[in-house]
Amino acid sequence: MRRGALLLVAIAYIGLANAQQLEDALRLFDEANGLVESGAYAEAIVQYHAVLETGFASGALYHNLASAYFRLDEIGEAVRYYERSRRLLGNDPQLLHNIQIVEAHVQNPFSELPTPFWQAWWYTLFSQYSAWRFLIAGMCLYLIACLLYAHHIWLQTRSNWHRRARVGTLGIGLLLLLIAVLVSGERSSIQGAAILEPTTLVSETGSIDVPEGVKVSFIEETELGAEVSLPNGVRGYVDASVLGFF
């Protein structure tokens, strides 16, 4: 009884602390938006980063942060945070419009390799639905399947429909849980990086100038620098400090 009370108090404390942090995040977010409206972009950027330090983030926050960077002509940072925003907002029309505008400012001399259809589908899937949705749906079906199995064990039912229902719900539930895990992994893994300042990529065939704002695929960190792949598929090494991961 006493332990239960302590647990409740602890949960309540954590909840309240969380609520306080959330309130702080919201206040800072509104202040940062006000600074953007008044044209104080540099100060707004500082404020948006302060929001992130509270432990909370949002697609709108990344979006506004990217907009402030764009206003200061920091195209690389703008690309980086718009891409982060895209992870949370998916194909939000305003976000897509802004990304189009920013990419028009990037002096990208590289053609892009065609995206495989399955990759496009996968990207659409995980940009449309969050991992939580898959998790909740998958966990519900998984629980139902477990209950059906328990029911079958207790009552020793021999119904074919019962068996089909068990197998079906378990299969679909596990599949949804797998997708949830993959989507969650996709969200938390590095998708790529934006070049934050003009740099030179050293490849086997020579050096290539890479302008600010170009999106590259990060492969790994090596002794030669960060190994990346350009949009046209050329691989090479750049200084890791010029990469803004998203």
Binding site: G39, Y41, F56, D73, L88, P93, Y149, S184, S188
Partner: protein, 612 residues
């Protein structure tokens, strides 16, 4: 009469085409021809101008190598000319020399004393050729002219390389990459050649160079020079500035021209009807070799390849303006070098400004033999928000070949103050979705908060616990189901399972009866607790057991004899107490309760050890 007219004409022409003689004192040593036959003589004339004849100490004949002086007595002559109202006089002394042998001969320098000063001429080289190679003298009539009925005149004397040639002068032979070199192609011709209709005879190229043509005077005036004892008129025919675009040994093709010329030795009267006889000659300048050195290392990051000497000037058209108004940032780079290829420095303009591509204008001059000028970059800036903004100092880096180092020019700008607020985008400047045309939609206001640091599902313990709980539930179900089934089918196991709970239940009842003061019921419950426990654990019906049967069962179960005895004595005590005429005292009942509990736990322990 015709001769008189011709002489008057020639005199007029000479008068008109007289070069600009300097009015300073000059001394020149001239020969009649740089090439003579072995049987001819060459006259050497010492021409002194710009002084009074009385000031000149009569000079002696210069010494010669390979030539013999015919007579040490000079023939002296004076002349006077009037140019633009100025009168100039000259005095000449002429000697004749006879060649000693074929080959090269030299007339050494002559010394002339004018007043207190002594002047020296340059040595002159004369080439002596076999007489057969020299043209035959023209035949004249007795009256000094040609007769229409005479035989046709001989071919005119040949125009030699010494009569007309091209010389190229260059400002430097070894330069840095992209450093400017001025090349001046000059045509030297003897006054009598009178070139005309000159044109470039062949293509000309300077591979590895960027070229800029320099200006030439619209009406060039020939200058007069003396080269190797020969008087030449000189004009610039092409002036060009070249900039090596790569390092290494580079070559510039010779410039070839063709022109119609007369022989300077031709007799103007050696033609029917006094017509002049021109022949076409081609001349080429020497090949020019340039060594282009790479620029030294250590160039600042802002260096974009400019080489020369430059200044930088940056200005803003205004420093205070409203949002949406335009201002101009102008950058002027001025100096000597390859102006055309100068790249615009990249000013770090704050992102608040909409920046348009710069307008570029170039102004060049090449009058003083080098390309000079300025390049102007003008950016149009339109602020999209208010505030005070500072454009960082603009840097322009170039390499100065004269100092052999990189120079950084910096120009500072005043802050820009933007007032007012941005107007809301009008309907015509938004897209179909309502977003600004050609600009971003800045803010989104609905934050759907998530954790800033996202832990993927597969790294969270709770996810695996969540998956495990239903599986555990199924496991529990399986266990419960098996237990239920065994309880229903295995009586001994079921009684064994129930022994402890039932014993505890009866003990609890006994305690209750004790507190209620009901000895009969107390001892019945106490006896039931112990006896029922033994019966359940041994799976025997305890109700009909005699004490001997009970002892026998306990013996089979491996309970020690003293324990058996203790149990039986306890049961007897309980029976005696139940059926005693007077109820026992509470203290005794308490004692029996404790004894029963102890026996129960002792028996349970021994049975457990035996069964295990």
């Amino acid at each position: 009469m015709r001769r008189a007219i011709l002489l008057i004409g020639l005199a007029s022409a000479c008068f008109v085409s007289l070069p600009r003689y300097s009015f300073s004192q000059t001394v020149s040593g001239l020969v009649s021809s740089p090439t003579i036959g072995a049987q001819e003589t060459v006259s050497y004339t010492l021409e002194i101008s710009g002084t009074n004849a009385s000031d000149i100490v009569d000079p002696g004949p210069p010494a010669a190598e390979g030539l013999t002086l015919v007579s040490p007595i000079a023939s002296r002559g004076t002349s006077m000319s009037i140019v633009n109202g100025r009168v100039s006089r000259s005095v000449s002394y002429t000697w004749h020399y006879r060649p000693e042998e074929e080959g090269s001969a030299r007339i050494l320098e002559a010394n002339v004393t004018i007043g207190d000063s002594t002047f020296h001429t340059s040595p002159v080289t004369v080439t002596v050729v076999p007489q057969a190679q020299r043209p035959t003298p023209q035949r004249r009539s007795l009256f000094g002219g040609f007769s229409l009925f005479d035989n046709p005149p001989d071919a005119p004397p040949e125009v030699t390389e010494q009569d007309i040639f091209i010389r190229a002068t260059q400002s430097d032979r070894e330069v840095y990459l992209n450093e400017q070199i001025a090349i001046d192609y000059k045509l030297y011709f003897r006054p009598g050649t009178m070139p005309r209709n000159s044109r470039q005879a062949d293509s000309w190229d300077a591979e590895g160079f960027w070229r800029e043509e320099l200006d030439l005077a619209a009406t060039p005036v020939p200058s007069l020079v003396v080269e190797n004892g020969i008087r030449y008129q000189v004009i610039s025919i092409r002036r060009i500035a070249v900039f090596p675009t790569r390092a290494g040994e580079l070559t510039i093709d010779p410039l070839k021209i063709s022109a119609e010329v007369q022989s300077p030795d031709a007799d103007p009267f050696n033609s029917p009807l006094f017509s002049q006889r021109y022949s076409t000659v081609e001349r080429a300048s020497p090949v020019i070799n340039i060594t282009s050195n790479p620029l030294p290392s250590g160039a600042p990051d802002e260096f974009r390849g400019a080489v020369g000497q430059y200044t930088l000037r940056a200005t803003l058209s205004r420093n205070t303006l409203e949002v949406g108004e335009a201002l101009q940032l102008t950058l002027v780079i001025e100096g000597t070098g390859n102006i055309a290829l100068i790249e615009a420095p990249q000013p770090e303009i704050p992102g608040i400004f909409e920046v348009y591509d710069p307008e570029v204008s170039i102004s060049k001059t090449g009058i003083d033999a080098l390309v000079r000028g300025n390049k102007t970059f003008t950016w149009l800036l339109i602020p999209r928000s208010n505030g005070t903004f500072q454009i960082p100092p603009i840097k322009f880096v170039y390499f100065d070949p004269s100092q052999a180092r990189y120079i950084v020019r910096t120009s500072n700008l005043d802050p820009i103050t933007v007032t007012g607020t941005a107007a809301t985008a009008s309907a015509t400047t938004v897209t179909a979705s309502g977003f600004p045309f050609d600009d971003i939609a800045v803010l989104k206001r609905d934050p759907q908060w998530v954790a800033a640091t996202h832990t993927p599902l597969h790294r969270g313990t709770w996810f695996y616990l969540l998956l495990l709980v239903p599986v555990l539930g199924i496991g529990v179900t399986v266990v419960l189901r098996r237990r239920t089934t065994r309880l229903a089918t295995d009586t001994a196991w079921a009684r064994n399972q129930r022994a402890h709970p039932l014993a505890r239940k009866h003990l609890k009842t006994a305690r209750k009866r004790l507190s209620e003061g009901d000895p009969d019921a107390f001892y019945a419950a106490l006896e039931q607790s112990v006896l029922g426990f033994v019966g359940n654990r041994l799976n025997v019906h305890e109700r009909g057991l005699t004490r001997a049967q009970l002892a026998d069962q306990l013996q089979k179960a491996g309970i020690r004899t003293e324990r058996q005895q203790e149990l039986i004595e306890f049961l007897d005590t309980c029976d005696a107490a139940r059926f005693a005429p007077t109820p026992p005292a509470n203290a005794l009942m308490e004692k029996h309760y404790a004894l029963g509990s102890r026996i129960l736990s002792t028996i349970a322990r021994e049975l457990e050890s035996v069964i295990l």
